[in-house]
Every structure is written in C-alpha cells, then in structure tokens.
Symmetry: C2
DNA sequence: GTCTATACATAGATAGAC
DNA sequence: GTCTATCTATGTATAGAC
C-alpha cells in the first residue's frame, strides 16, 4: 500500500462501523454496571467509565439513561422464544410432557445469558408506559398460548384452564428466574426435570 | 379536676406515648409512600409531608432513609408465620394435602396486608449485609422445614427431597407474591386450590 | 467524535431558632 | 419536640474547546 493510496482513502475505519462499535461497547458496559449496581446506583458516569468513553461521548449515542436500559430490555424481549415454541407445538400430537419440557427448556435458556441484569431490568426498569405495555402484552401472549394448548391437548384434565394457564406461566417464569440466579445455584437439569414433572402432573391430574 | 392538680401534672400526653405515636405515623406514611412511588422516588420529604411532620422531625425518629424501610421490612419478617405453621404439623399424622393447604394459606395471608409495599421491599430494598442475611436465613429455614416434612411424611414419593423443597418454597412464595399483586387479580380461593393441587400432586407422584 | 468543565436539579441530612 | 433554612453530595445532562 503506497502513501499515495493512503492520501486518497485515509480512514481505515468507516465512520458508521466505528460508531456502531462504540454503541455496542456502551451497551455492554451498561449491562455490566446495571447488573452489578442496580438501576439507581448504575450511574451514567460509571457506565461511561466502564466503556472507556467520556460522559460527553456517551450522550452522543444515547439521549438519556433510560434509553440505554430500554435498549437492553428490548434486546432481551426480542430474544424471547418461549411463546413461539408453544405455537410451534400447537397442532402437533406430541405428548404433553414433551411440549412442557420444550417450553420449560426455552424459558431456562432465555435466562442463562445474564440473570443478574435480567433481575434488575424486570424489577427496577423505569416503567415507562410504552415499555410496560410491551411487557404486559408479551405476558398475556404467553398466557394465551398456554391456555390454547390446555384447551386442545387431549391429555389435559385440569378444569379451570384459565387459572391453570396463569399459574403455570408464573410458576415457570418466576422459579426459573429466581433459581437460576440464586446463590448455591440449583443444577439446571434437575430444575428442568422437576419443573416439568410438577407442571405436567398438575395439568394431567383429574380431580 | 382542679387547676391545682393540673399544675402538678400538666401533660396529658406523656412524652413516650406521644413519641411512639409519631413514630408510627411516620412508619405508616413511609409504607404508603414507598408502595406508591417505589424506593428511590419515595423521598424522605414526601414521607414527612404524608406524615404531617417536618423533615427535621422525621430525622429525630430515624437516623436515615434506609432505617425506615429496614423497620418496615423487619415488621413484615416478624409477621411471617409460614415456617411455624410447618413445624406445628411436623409430628402430626395429617394428610399431606392438608398440611400443604395450611402452608399455602399462611403464605397468602402474609401477603394480603399491602402487596405493593411488599413488592417494593423485596425488589428495591437496599440490600444491606445484615438485612440480606436475615432474609436468606428465613428462606433457608423455610426450605429446611419443608425438607424435614418431605423426609418424614409417608405420602411423599418424590425422590430428590432437596430440590423438591427448594422448588416448592420458591413456587409458593413467588406465585403468591406475583399473583396477589397483579392487575386482573386472580381469585384467591382458586389460587389456593390450584397451588395446593399442583404441589401436593407433585410431591405424591411416583416416577 | 471525543474530551473537560460545568450547569442544573434534587436528594439526604443537619443546624439552630423557637 | 418541632420547625425553617440550609449545607453537602451526587447525578443527569449540556456547552464548547480541540
């Protein structure tokens, strides 16, 4: 490469690529800081420091602190595959236990990434109307799909499908959420097995 | 009552009683404010205002903001009767379902007081080492008592008693916690029935 | 594009009068 | 014991130089 060429195309890193990289660095830093300090104590200064960017630069990429956490949350919500999993099994004659297992497994999977950050986001994220609405919608989608399943599947004997759907959704989501992050962490395979047994048994029991 | 007597005993409200009353007013106000605004936005100024006390007076009763929330949390923890309930049934030959029902019922009962405040306290309370230690101890106490029960009771067939105890404790505590406070609140009797059925079935199933 | 310096807001907490 | 006034700290966000 001659110096002649350098003069014509001096920048090796095109602007947009570099900028996107910085954005990602800030986001990663924010995930780390929020997970460690929580939302309130996870200050923009700390985030900037962790990302090795000045506070001024940080604000060039995000308009405010909430926007950072909102993007992290959006990312996670987009990665949630649990309801799709349920839908995929809707019209197939698989055994109930198998469907439940895939569902539980997917939920566990969604939580492995960064359980601490997840806790912070769910518990302390600023509940903007728009974000809250998205979360609620996703929750109800899951409950709805679950109820559909209960209504169709021949093995299901539980009477009150509506309450059952809510209970199962809460049970799986919450216990996974808690036990994955908890100290003295449970063995994940065991958690999956026991959860599947408990839920499947409940749905199949005739009372 | 003559004015002579009044001069000898002029105060109708002895100091300590009045002070205790003020303390309680501040605490009640704090409960209200925290439940409505959350921990961070539940400022000491707002609490003082709600209690109709000046901010200066508030600090005469509590050394700092955290101390107020800590006392609220302590109050709640002291009111937790779930583990005692379990112990009371330890050596009695009651049917498993009945024991589980009493346990679930107690947990629900503990959450009826002020679900919103409870959520705030559990999710956003400043995790001081001392407080965290108390909570963890209580949790493990509950898991321990549950495990004892599973080990003794003849109806219990689940193999991994340890995992089962943790799963049951989490399931009951968390689902109650969530569903009692959730909008479109579930019927509590139904919640109790379904939860009891799910847990009992799980514990009795031979796989 | 990135930095430093700083404005601005608000919270927790204290001092000192009454 | 209670108040008002105020201090101090800290965090978000912006301005302007380079």
């Amino acid at each position: 490469m001659t110096s002649e060429q350098r003069r014509i195309q001096p920048r090796k890193q095109p602007r947009q690529v570099r900028a996107e990289l910085t954005r990602q660095r800030i986001l990663a830093a924010a995930a780390h800081i929020f997970a460690e300090y929580g939302y309130a104590a996870g200050t923009t200064n700390r985030i900037a420091e962790q990302a090795r960017v000045s506070i001024g630069s940080l604000y060039q990429y995000y308009p405010n602190k909430d926007a950072i956490l909102a993007e992290l949350l959006t990312r996670h919500l987009d990665g949630d595959r649990a309801t799709e999993t349920l839908r995929a099994h809707k019209d197939r004659p698989d055994p109930l236990e198998q469907i439940v297992r895939v569902f539980v497994h997917t939920v566990i999977d969604n939580h492995l990434d960064d359980p601490e950050l997840l806790r912070i986001m769910i518990e302390q994220a600023p509940r903007s109307a728009e974000l809250l609405e998205r979360i609620t919608r996703l929750e109800w989608e899951m409950v709805g799909d679950l109820r559909d399943l209960l209504n169709r599947h021949p093995e299901v004997r539980v009477h009150d499908k509506d309450t059952a759907a809510r209970l199962v959704a809460s049970t799986v989501e919450l216990t996974v959420h808690q036990l994955v992050a908890s100290p003295g962490s449970i063995d994940l395979t065991r958690l999956e097995n026991e959860l599947v047994a408990m839920v499947t048994g409940y749905l199949r029991a005739d009372r």
